[in-house]
Subunit: 317 residues, 2 copies
Amino acid sequence: MRSGEDRLLEWLRGWLAKREGRAPLIGDDAALLPGRGRWVVTVDSQIEGVHFLAGTDPAIVARRLMAVNLSDLAACGAEPRFALVALNAPGDFDHRRFLKAFAAAARRYGVRLAGGDVAASPGGLVAAATLLGTLPARRRFLRRSGARTGQALWVGGTLGESAAGRLVLAAGAASAPAVARRAARRHLLPEPQLALGRWLSARRGSEGAAMDVSDGLARDLHRLCRASGVGAVVEAVRLPLARGFASLCRELKRDPLELALGGGEDYVLLFTLPADESPPAAFGATRIGKTIPRGVRLDVDGERRALPPLGWDHLAP
Amino acid sequence: MRSGEDRLLEWLRGWLAKREGRAPLIGDDAALLPGRGRWVVTVDSQIEGVHFLAGTDPAIVARRLMAVNLSDLAACGAEPRFALVALNAPGDFDHRRFLKAFAAAARRYGVRLAGGDVAASPGGLVAAATLLGTLPARRRFLRRSGARTGQALWVGGTLGESAAGRLVLAAGAASAPAVARRAARRHLLPEPQLALGRWLSARRGSEGAAMDVSDGLARDLHRLCRASGVGAVVEAVRLPLARGFASLCRELKRDPLELALGGGEDYVLLFTLPADESPPAAFGATRIGKTIPRGVRLDVDGERRALPPLGWDHLAP
């Protein structure tokens, strides 16, 4: 059931733990470095043909690359500080357009560019960014492993809209209706939930897990549950969907529930809190279920069924 | 005369300086982050078909990726601490072999793995690593801009052997003589000059520039001179060459001087020192010339000619 990617990460964690004789640094959305300054680091790529269509505006790819990395820092409660980018692009690529947009996006979040590497790539565009953040005093590093049985399960925003936007873009619908254009925009330019991550990392209690939904709610929930040693039940009726999402799914001939559970690239935070605690309403987060001792389940109209780890596997055979 | 890469970097530095209203962090082999901890960061990629031949053992690519990034930290005098890797590989790639070798190489240099990202790459293998190091107390951050007229110009090791090794590998010479095999090995597995960088950054005087030779001595010397606002003259007869290099070049039908000046991927340090100062002999560094007020020149048998920026341009049209 676990993805090729999860098996690889688990093998690597085990191998490193044995070699280093201590807990590996990897396993969360970002890593908290031991030593002074409480630095938090993460790396994520955007690949032509995988994360975006060939022909996508380099400025969009740059902003998306910044956003997906910021989302990893948000998931750990860190404040973004510095960015490095490795830009491997075909000969005719507009490097300046990409770098301007990357630096402008960085600046919007208080991030300074601290390194870059450019090389010609015989394949398509492959861009990797590393983000460095810090964890201020009295802020907690948020981990996937913090969930305990009996907590409430939350998501920071609507699900499935990004995947619908990807389908809209793939269909090349130039004159799509407003709801489709909004989905496409949501897909291309996700908003990292830094304020929500900040709140989670600064709240008084230390209970709870957090991560971002990048590969699909179901797959990422499986990861959170496995890391925490708990199970979870999601109530289908509570899944937050964007306005017009159901009709857009009809247009696209897709099941809304399937896209919400496994579409991926939502870049909203998935987190648990004690049952009696809620984030401020301004964040627009939604309680979608709760943690249970074991199993990952979906409750549809009062009937509980197993929820398989639907979503992306970047190492699927 | 400047490469496409250099023009891009210069444009970006100018653009950032204007936007941020202060000196950009980029421009040296690695960047010194402002704030506590004196962190030094760098990013560098290895791309199939650009930096290594298709079919190269993933373990070799991993060790090379670690080495070229360590060389950047060495050039700035930093101590390596943490590494992140973005591994974008085709479906049949042996991720475990790569990651084991990468982590083992890291460990050899006291580096811990602090992040990774894997994704399927429809093109060939593209691997980018970010290295984080620290600059200990009483150690100076080495910059390209530290050269002044009248200093001695040094390199940390032999030149051209790596490029010869690349040619040996491209020719697919399975039963090559020992000198060719050594060149191939030098090309595949460069040794980052961390000890030399440490000495340069810890010496009492603050005069002098440093960088590593990755794109060719001539091109990188042009960069050092431009950053420092000086010129340089290199004495051809002093260029350090590996044992058997001349005969290997005859085999390869290449001019040894051309490979030494522009072959690239040598990963030795290029640095300047006051004329009366030398690194300890154990480092095996060689004085190859001196800095002058302007121009980059090559002295061949007492005749001075212009030395063009021979070497790699990763953004050549």
